[in-house]
């Protein structure tokens, strides 16, 4: 009974954390005076910062090598320090700040780049924000949600020791096999005992799955990393996968 309570408690905590995730803007406002938490947030969003900076710079950048990324990191920190709800979605605001600081940097370097909708010479961040329409706000909200979900998903996969490079290598090319594995993941998520076992042991309960779904053990073994990745997506309601919207898996 105690074992059951413990495992149930663990599952509930995990689902609570996933479902009731604090919004990013609340988190930014909450951690503003805590330098450790700010550094942790910046670290989580390094891929996002690099993605924005690379698009502005038009080339691949490396942390520790390219100044543009240092500027991106400082701009992200600036965005954390100066953000408030009136400025819209945090990631959109952060993207704006990063782009404007990079523009300033390129001007000093004599590398004048095309100024896009992010702002014109001499405009402040506040002026640029004021000009944005409600439609842009809606688009920003959708983009922010998508980026956040991707970052969360990658972070969760990382906890399982799974990388996207690995998923590229092992995700089944054959659609019928892929659908089969997706169905296995759905069965796991729908079955509390299977899900508990997976979350506690970090291993696929192959024997138990074999009893429920007709699938050869070796096939399960070979697909285990992919199956776990789909389980994580289902738990996080990662809606960019059809199966998480109830559209796919067949």
């Amino acid at each position: 009974m105690e074992d059951f309570k413990g495992s149930l408690g663990g599952l509930i905590s995990y689902l609570f954390m996933v479902i009731h995730r604090e919004s990013l803007k609340d988190r930014v406002i909450r951690i503003r005076n805590d330098s450790d938490k700010i550094n942790s947030l910046i670290s989580e969003f390094k891929p996002f910062i690099a993605s924005v900076a690379q698009k502005r710079a038009g080339k691949f950048l490396r942390y520790g090598v390219d100044d543009e990324l240092s500027i991106g990191l400082m701009a992200f920190k600036e965005a954390i320090d100066s953000y408030d709800e009136a400025k819209g979605n945090f990631l959109s605001f952060a993207r704006l700040v990063i782009n404007m600081r990079l523009i300033d940097y390129f001007r000093k370097q004599g590398r004048v780049r095309n100024i896009s909708m992010d702002g014109q010479a001499g405009e402040t961040i506040g002026e640029v924000i004021d000009k944005r329409s409600m439609e842009q706000y809606r688009i920003d909200s959708e983009n922010e949600e998508r980026i956040l979900k991707i970052i969360e998903y990658r972070k969760e996969l990382n906890k399982w020791g799974i990388t996207l490079e690995q998923l590229v290598r092992i995700s089944p090319k054959k659609s019928s096999l892929r659908n089969h594995y997706i169905r296995v993941a759905q069965v796991i998520v729908d079955n509390r005992k299977l899900l508990d076992t997976l979350l506690e042991t970090k291993r696929l309960p192959i024997k138990e799955i074999e009893k429920i779904i007709l699938i050869h053990r070796k096939k399960l073994e070979r697909g285990r990393i992919y199956i776990i990745a789909v389980v994580v997506a289902l738990l996080q309601n990662f809606s960019y996968l059809d199966v998480c919207r109830g559209d796919g898996g067949q």
Partner: protein
């Protein structure tokens, strides 16, 4: 088909399609951002490599299956017990051309692999993996580029990850090499020879034993980055059990 950009690398990005495929997509850095939705074709990535199958006659041929006019080395790239695949090829492939090449075979492939080729290759891979594991393992060899500031990670034998990166410590340039068993339930046993080359000249060799490398375990070694080294060759044998 549409796919969402999940991760960005120097010359490519990793995307995820709505039906759950994870793919590499060629994209110049700066052309896409994380979260972008892009349209991609179904072409898989390709690579060049040499392979040997331990326990089978090396003089025997490596079977290369050509399906629909193109062939996917990626599916055949790890391990191919000659006898098994040849028999499968004869039994399974209809109206397709089957070529044999003398081992060691260096084959280069590219181009889109159609769904039928996918299915045939996937069937071959399953049987080939089983046969190789039953035979007790395989040998694998591949060359990687090595230079300052590089970091590479790749899966070389099933769930065995190989990673190397160059760094400087106390004024000395070094290469950190690591092997990680990403299998959730199997152990890996084998060994690796790491050879640093400058052109055809061997600058340094390092032997690494991987004995009972358990699930999620990692083994690291460092080697001095010899001046002029441009190729890092890895020769592996071993298997999961």
């Amino acid at each position: 088909m549409k796919a969402t950009v999940m991760e960005i690398h120097k010359n490519y990005c990793i995307v995820m399609t709505k039906d759950g495929q994870f793919l590499k997509h060629k994209a110049a850095a700066g052309s896409v951002e994380i979260g972008d939705e892009i349209v991609i074709s179904k072409a898989p990535e390709v690579r060049l490599g040499r392979l040997y199958a331990r326990g089978f006659a090396i003089a025997a041929a490596v079977v290369v299956v050509v399906v629909g006019g193109v062939f996917s080395y990626r599916y055949l790239s790890k391990f191919y017990p000659v006898g098994g695949v040849r028999e499968l090829a004869k039994a399974e492939v209809e109206d397709k051309e089957v070529y044999q090449a003398e081992a060691p075979a260096e084959v280069a492939v590219t181009q889109e692999v159609g769904e039928e080729a996918d299915m045939v290759a996937a069937e071959f891979e399953e049987s080939a993996v089983d046969e190789i594991n039953e035979a007790g393992g395989l040998m694998y060899e591949k060359d990687f580029v090595v230079e300052e500031g590089i970091e590479v990670e790749e899966f070389i034998i099933d769930d065995l990850s190989f990673k190397y990166e160059t760094f400087e410590s106390d004024g000395e340039k070094q290469i950190l090499i690591s092997f990680k068993n990403t299998s959730g339930s199997l152990s890996f046993n084998g060994s690796a020879d790491i050879i640093l080359l400058s052109g055809d000249s061997i600058l340094k060799e390092l032997h690494i034993d991987l004995v009972d490398l358990g699930p999620w375990e990692e083994k690291e070694e460092t080697v001095v980055y010899e001046e002029g080294a441009s190729i890092l060759r890895i020769r592996m044998n071993g298997g999961f059990n």
